[in-house]
């Protein structure tokens, strides 16, 4: 019984809206699994949320929440924002500066008798760990506390869908993980459509169960996050999900493809589409074969030379040239990423090194 009730929780969106330099043309359906909306800035992510909340009007299309039509250009329906029961969290939190935390949370609860209202505020304060801060004004709160207060206020009205616009981008790194944990907790309890806009790949991956990749107003990919990260449907999605290595490709026998830019034949584990366009591999999926007398020969193993490196606190990115020593420092075929410990181990070894592009890690993108 409960399961069917959950399945009823759907947000159907199919809208078109002409923007300055492209048209937002999006169609998808969200259920109780939180959806991370990923895309470069200016891809139309925020506009999409604003259309759903009723703050912007699409040119055409339909938006339905739990079978209730919020917007329908054919039916001439446009429910005003206040009647949509859609919670929205803005990037800057938009807490009412002239109201205390408790008064902010209470804003949407005026219809409740005061006893119920107080009880609900108390429950939300506990849930968002704001105990003791109820009588503070927003300017007296830290960034993380403001974020949680805004979340509590949005949840107070028990909205049928929750829209979050870059909820973490204004926080510094150590607060981010705390608030992220809070959001994960919230999503787990919420079990209603929730859309979370971000341009941070890892944030989208950790918080969303499904991913919607937007690019210049179009849906470049939509589906389970694991699937999209393992097999990006296009080079664009591959790039937006953080993949650094691509080569043009064509079929070259059963389970084999020819990587034109990398000048090699590769075995791939996934079934090869009829007209492959690109083959790709993530930087951290590139293996290094440690030289031990002859083991450098093998499937998908190729000699390579180091062009240059770049460092982050824990990892090293190596720019590698396949088959030949590089002529200059801009010429490279692959970016590989390893932990520094591993780098320390083989940095002293003589060239050529050998990389292995595991068939399981390679993904082929069709046209």
């Amino acid at each position: 019984m409960r399961e069917t009730w959950r399945d009823d929780m759907t947000l159907e969106v199919q809208i078109e809206k002409k923007l300055l330099d492209f048209t937002l043309d999006v169609s998808f359906q969200a259920s109780s699994a939180p959806v991370g909306i990923l895309g470069p800035s200016g891809a139309g992510k925020t506009m999409l949320l604003r259309c759903i909340a009723g703050l912007e009007r699409p040119d055409r299309g339909r938006i339905a929440l739990n079978r209730r039509v919020l917007f329908g250009s054919e039916e001439h329906i446009r429910i005003p924002t206040r009647e949509r029961h859609v919670g929205m969290l803005f990037q800057n939190y938009a807490l009412f500066p002239h109201r205390t935390v408790a008064e902010n949370i209470a804003f949407g609860l005026r219809h409740l008798p005061s006893g119920d209202r107080a009880a609900r505020i108390a429950a939300l304060v506990a849930r968002t760990h704001l105990g003791g801060l109820e009588q503070r004004y927003p300017r007296e709160l830290s960034g993380g506390e403001q974020q949680r207060a805004a979340l509590a206020r949005a949840l107070a009205t028990e909205p049928e869908a929750l829209l979050l616009d870059e909820p973490l981008s204004a926080l510094d790194t150590h607060l981010r993980s705390q608030v992220e944990a809070q959001l994960q907790e919230t999503f787990a309890a919420y079990r209603r459509p929730a859309l979370l806009v971000t341009h941070n790949i890892e944030e989208a991956y950790r918080l969303g169960e499904e991913l919607l990749v937007l690019s210049r107003g179009r849906v470049a990919a939509f589906g389970a996050k694991h699937e999209i990260f393992r097999h990006p449907p296009s080079r664009e999605v591959g790039q937006l999900t953080g993949c650094k290595n691509f080569s043009r490709a064509c079929v070259s026998g059963t389970g084999m493809i020819e990587a034109l830019d990398w000048k090699c034949r590769l075995r791939v584990a996934q079934s090869v589409p009829e007209a492959p366009e690109y083959v790709g591999i993530r930087a951290h999926h590139i293996d290094f074969v440690e030289s031990s007398g002859g083991s450098e020969q093998g499937e998908n193993v190729f000699p390579c030379w180091l062009v240059r490196t770049s460092e982050t606190p824990f990892r090293i990115t190596m720019y590698l040239r396949l088959h030949h020593p590089p002529n200059d420092s801009t010429e490279y075929d692959l970016q590989a990423e390893v932990y520094k410990e591993k780098w320390q181990r083989f940095r002293e070894q003589p060239f050529p090194w050998h990389v292995r592009l595991s068939p399981d890690s390679l993904f082929v993108m069709a046209k």
């Binding site: 909340a53 009723g54 703050l55 005003p80 924002t81 206040r82 009647e83 949509r84 029961h85 859609v86 919670g87 929205m88 803005f90 800057n92 938009a94 009412f96 500066p97 002239h98 804003f107 949407g108 219809h111 206020r153 949005a154 107070a156 009205t157 909205p159």
Partner: protein, 226 residues
């Protein structure tokens, strides 16, 4: 000494300011949600009393409220004559002060972060609640400044008042009009006294406003708005 010009001036200015406050806020709120070329014309009409000579405003009001004017005729049906009555001083002062209120109220409302208003709507608030519980409390310092400016302007109104309300001692004779007729009648002492009164009131208002906005200003207003 007849103190009636003082009471008439204060009563007229207070009433006119109240009317201006409501009308200015309403039109600023109405105007803020609209765009388009027609709105430029609307703005022009709203601001006209600020740039027209008060005599022109007074003459236009006289045409409007006079015996043969469209509004005058209508009011006459109910047995009301506006011209040369105390309400005429209020109308003249309100019309002349309106642009100041409209301008400051609009500027103050435009300063309110749009996300705050939008959030209020997503929380189910009606437009009335959005305005009275979010926009207005946050725009309050600006609105208060506009109110004080409007009061000061209404207090100083002369030309339009004289055209529409005339000079009826004890009824429509405000301080500026009393000064004018005192000078005309060569009663320099009386004119100087009223001048002193007028300067004192205006100075108190303006320096009070300045003090308030520059020392305790918005922060204090926000606390008061609790």
């Amino acid at each position: 000494m007849d103190w009636s010009p003082l009471w008439i001036s204060l009563g007229t200015s207070a009433t006119a300011t109240l009317i201006t406050l409501v009308a200015g806020l309403a039109s600023a709120a109405w105007r803020e949600r609209r765009t388009g070329p027609a709105m430029a014309l609307v703005d022009g009409v709203f601001l006209l009393p600020l740039v027209l000579p008060p005599t022109v405003v007074g003459f236009l009001l006289l045409l409007l409220f006079g015996r043969h004017g469209p509004l005058g005729k209508l009011l006459l049906e109910f047995g009301v004559t506006v011209v040369f009555s105390w309400p005429a001083t209020v109308i003249a002062a309100a019309v002349v002060a309106f642009p100041l209120m409209y301008l400051t109220a609009r500027a103050a409302l435009e300063q309110v972060e749009p996300h705050l208003l939008q959030t209020a709507r997503t929380l189910g608030a009606s437009e009335w609640r959005v305005f009275t519980e979010v926009a207005l409390p946050l725009a309050w310092p600006g609105v208060l400044a506009g109110t004080i400016l409007s009061f000061a302007r209404a207090l100083g109104e002369f030309g339009a008042t004289l055209m529409l309300a005339g000079n009826i001692p004890g009824k429509t004779e405000t301080i500026p009009i009393a000064i004018y007729f005192a000078v005309e009648a060569n009663e320099i002492q009386r004119a100087m006294l009223w001048c002193a009164v007028d300067v004192a009131i205006s100075l108190a208002l303006l320096s009070g406003l300045y003090y308030w906005t520059h020392t305790q200003g918005p922060g204090r207003a926000r606390n008061l708005a609790r």
